[in-house]
Amino acid sequence: MGDWGLDRIMAFWGHHLIMVAVWLTLTLSLNLINGFCGLFSLGHQGFWAVGAYTAALTLVYVPAAGAPVWLAFVLSFPLAMLAAALFGLLVGLPCLRLKGDYLAIATLGFSEILRNLIQNSKTLGQSLGMSFPNIIRKSVEERRTFYFIYLVLAWLVVALTLVVLRNLVHSSHGRAIQAVRDDERAAELLGVNLTRYKVLVFVIGAAFAGLAGALFANYNSQVTPEDFSFNAGVLMVVMVVLGGMGSFTGTAVATVLLYFAPVFLALWLPTIKVPVFYDPTQGGTVFRGLKELWQVLFSLLLIIVVLVRPQGVMGGHELRWPWAARKKGTEKDAEQVAVPGEALPGAADAAHRPRDFALPGQTPLLVAERLTKRFGGLTAVSDFSVTLLPGEIVGLIGPNGAGKTTVFNLLTCVYAPDAGRIALAGQDLRRLSPDRVTAGGMARTFQNIRLFSQMTVLENVKVGYEVHTRAGLAKSIIRDRSFREEEQRIDDGAHSLLRLLGLEEQAGTLSRNLPYGQQRKLEIARALATSPRVLLLDEPAAGMNDSESAALRELLLQIRERFGLTMLVIEHDMPFVMGLAGRLLVLDDGVVIAQGTAAQIRSNPAVIEAYLGRDED
């Protein structure tokens, strides 16, 4: 190894350990956006650049204005975070409606615009960037002290990032964020405000990238546009993907591995050269060293990982302390758990009480009048009206394509009606967003089950509590007593709901591993968590056999008693819905063709014709 004095060793390790800390801050914050919220951002390097350049500007102009140098140093960090957070807001807001690859390209676009602006700005030094004196370096005598100070600072930053992000993820906000990733529409209908969380994720992710930028700028004493290139951004993304999106452990492991791989390649195998190409125009065989080939190997690695193990090293799991409960993964065989008509717990569960809407007597709870919805030339629903009295169960039946799910979408304000109005407990629902409708007391389940597939059974139900949650962001991060008490209440409530529906044993299973019938019940449990007054059920018995649907019917009746619910049920299973609902509406081609009791509907000629057709005479 040659002549390596202690100083050189310290400089080598010090430098790399500090830089890996910068990268860890970047990838952990990126994991929040990409991994936990599923917003695939390719522009994280832009936030890093904003933070670094803001810090640089602070370090250059604050002392120039006469303030002491240590003040510039101290100010550079919060200012960098603030500037980056603002840029995160700027990027996040327009990207709200974008999905998947379009979002990726848009974030890339923002980052490229930023880099273009930086590269052309004289204040920012254009291509040469900005250099400034290193405050710490100048204040200490020995190089080793300099490295030591930055090591401590760098790893404090990493620790801060990890603690804040982890606390955020393990709170109701974190669950909401993951729900947005797994199924936006379902999350919205459980009371999650999509706009708020998507923007939040961008702002927080950007803020910590900005912090990394401040750290980098201060340590490096120099910022150039090349430091924040698209390649750097891709490297960050690959680190997150390789480690497993949605896993802090995975991100950390992958970041360290991918950062040090080229370093060690250069250190241990500097002289090996391999022939890579034969080029007569360049004079024959071309040789390259392993360090140079690292980029090529890295790209190959990305392709192989994506092909072979796209969930990354950790697969979205975290490394836990051995004595903590583990998430049950795909290896577990989920058994069928039968739910006979279970006796309900006697006393009303204190953790879960329906909210009090205080309606007198027989005032209708849900009133829909003359709802109409057109899609282009097709009228999906025409003049639909229904009145639900408190405690009623009304069935909505009709042939496929009649518009039943569209009615649900109108009632929950997923679609805006072209005509008509809806009132829930007297409150006009027009122009409300779906999450506000849920907060107002109307919850639903879906025809195609829309569970949050990457979250556990328990977490799915907990998301339903979003409408109740009071703990703000700061409290969630600091974890004060009121936060912990609320988390405990949510936990208790969720467990009691699962117990009610016979799912408590599966609390730790990933929801996508449940058998079909139990997934349907989980959807119901989740909807119940929002403390609804009205529950809209879209084909809850689909795919169930006779005994299962009978048990479900019993369960729904019990739930109505227990929680004082009113229900509107779409179904195709006639025995099921006729034994459940007091009254039925028949929809055909968007129009209500009959209303009445089961007996009346069964013998109604219009209904028979709609389902079975008419004799051609």
């Binding site: 409606r97 690859d101 379009y102 676009g109 273009n116 602006l117 994506v306 796209p310």
Partner: protein, 375 residues
């Protein structure tokens, strides 16, 4: 006004290049809903295949003799073939296994392929840009020959004047265009002297030399060739997509992947064929860009044009071939006009700002159709 026309023509040329790349993006996206990030690198590979064919098979050098049209056509053919093969291989090895895996995973794989080709290029052909071998001298048209005697020093030049002559070099003849006077400026003594010098040495060597005057707005033969390539490609694609069985299959698959496979269409072959066609067109675009427009090729040359062609494809309507062509032409023109009238530094920023605007306001683009989303 004449300036505007010249910028416009330059922009249209660049637009043709973007259109050729954008077509591949659009076709692939229409069929498999994948943004093939590596498409810009197909363009780069095409440029390099063309480079090597011209250098090794025809002995081309940056400052050497005119090669003429035939070597260019051969280079285009080889570039198209090689890139097509590359495109099909990438699809088969990387994208096909991931077809069911979700858009983000496929995007990551495409990113990986793109990086592999870029970095692979840097390590094989080297990171520096290379000057493209000289194919033919760019000459502007229309032009009228003028009598050398009418060029006198001190006169105000009524039009751009240049002398076009050939001279023998190693490997053949080289055509040179030397500017003598610019419209609106006086003709200098040295220019006249140079003209006489060239005329006499050309006569002595038995080569041609003519003095031409040019109108304010001209088109170069290189621009013409690029435009011709685009027109021919458009025609070929139109015939392919609208009037062949394969084209019908492509349209079916892009409307509904599953239904098409249930109708007996071999979707794997359709997807492979789409990648093939898209890559061939990008490869041809690469050689044209390297040889006729930029006059150089480098391993990273596909990065920005690739991104911009993607913007063009989205702008014109992703999934639509006419949309990609229109988007490419418009974007190239837009970029050059912004460079000329606002600032050449910020044209990249404007392009990306346009992308974001399109994604927010009308994501389906000019000619695309808005998608529907069933709850």
């Amino acid at each position: 006004m004449t300036d505007f026309c010249n910028y416009l023509l330059n922009g249209l040329s660049l637009g043709c290049i973007y259109a050729l790349i954008a077509v591949g993006y659009s076709m692939v996206y229409g069929i498999v809903k994948l943004i093939n990030f590596a498409h810009g690198e197909f363009y780069m590979v095409g440029a390099f295949v063309g480079y090597y064919v011209l250098c090794l098979a025809f002995g081309g050098t940056p400052n050497g003799a005119d090669l003429g049209l035939l070597p260019v056509l051969v280079a285009l053919l080889c570039a198209g073939a090689a890139t097509g093969l590359l495109g099909v291989s990438v699809e088969r090895v990387v994208y096909r296994p991931l077809r069911a895996s979700g858009r983000i995973v496929a995007l990551l794989a495409a990113l990986g392929v793109s990086l592999l080709l870029q970095n692979g290029g840097q390590q094989t052909v080297g990171p520096q840009d290379r000057a493209y071998p000289h194919t033919f001298t760019f000459q502007r048209f229309p032009r009228t020959p003028v009598q050398p005697e009418s060029i006198q020093p001190g006169q105000q030049a009524a039009a751009d004047v240049a002398i076009v002559y050939t001279r023998p070099v190693e490997g053949g003849k080289e055509t040179i265009v030397e500017n003598l006077a610019n419209r609106g400026n006086p003709i200098s003594e040295s220019a006249c002297a140079r003209m006489r010098e060239v005329l006499s040495s050309a006569a002595a060597q038995g080569c041609e030399a003519t003095v031409y005057s040019y109108p304010a707005v001209t088109v170069s033969n290189a621009q013409g060739l690029i435009l011709l390539a685009l027109v021919l490609t458009t025609a070929a694609l139109y015939l392919l997509v609208q009037h062949t069985r394969f084209g019908r299959a492509m349209r079916a698959v892009s409307h509904d992947f599953e239904a098409a496979s249930l109708m007996g269409i071999n979707v794997n072959r359709v997807v492979a064929g789409t990648f093939l066609v898209g890559a061939i067109v990008a490869g041809i675009g690469g050689t044209l860009a390297g040889g006729m427009y930029y006059n150089q090729a480098g391993p990273l040359m596909g990065l920005m044009p690739g991104l911009k062609a993607f913007v063009a494809a989205v702008f014109g309507g992703i999934g639509s071939v006419p949309g990609a062509l229109l988007g490419g032409l418009l974007l190239g023109t837009f970029e050059k006009l912004v460079e000329a009238y606002c600032s050449s530094l910020y044209s990249d920023a404007f392009t990306f700002a346009l992308l974001i605007l399109v994604l927010l306001v009308r994501p389906s683009g000019i000619l695309g159709q808005p998608p529907s989303d069933k709850i």
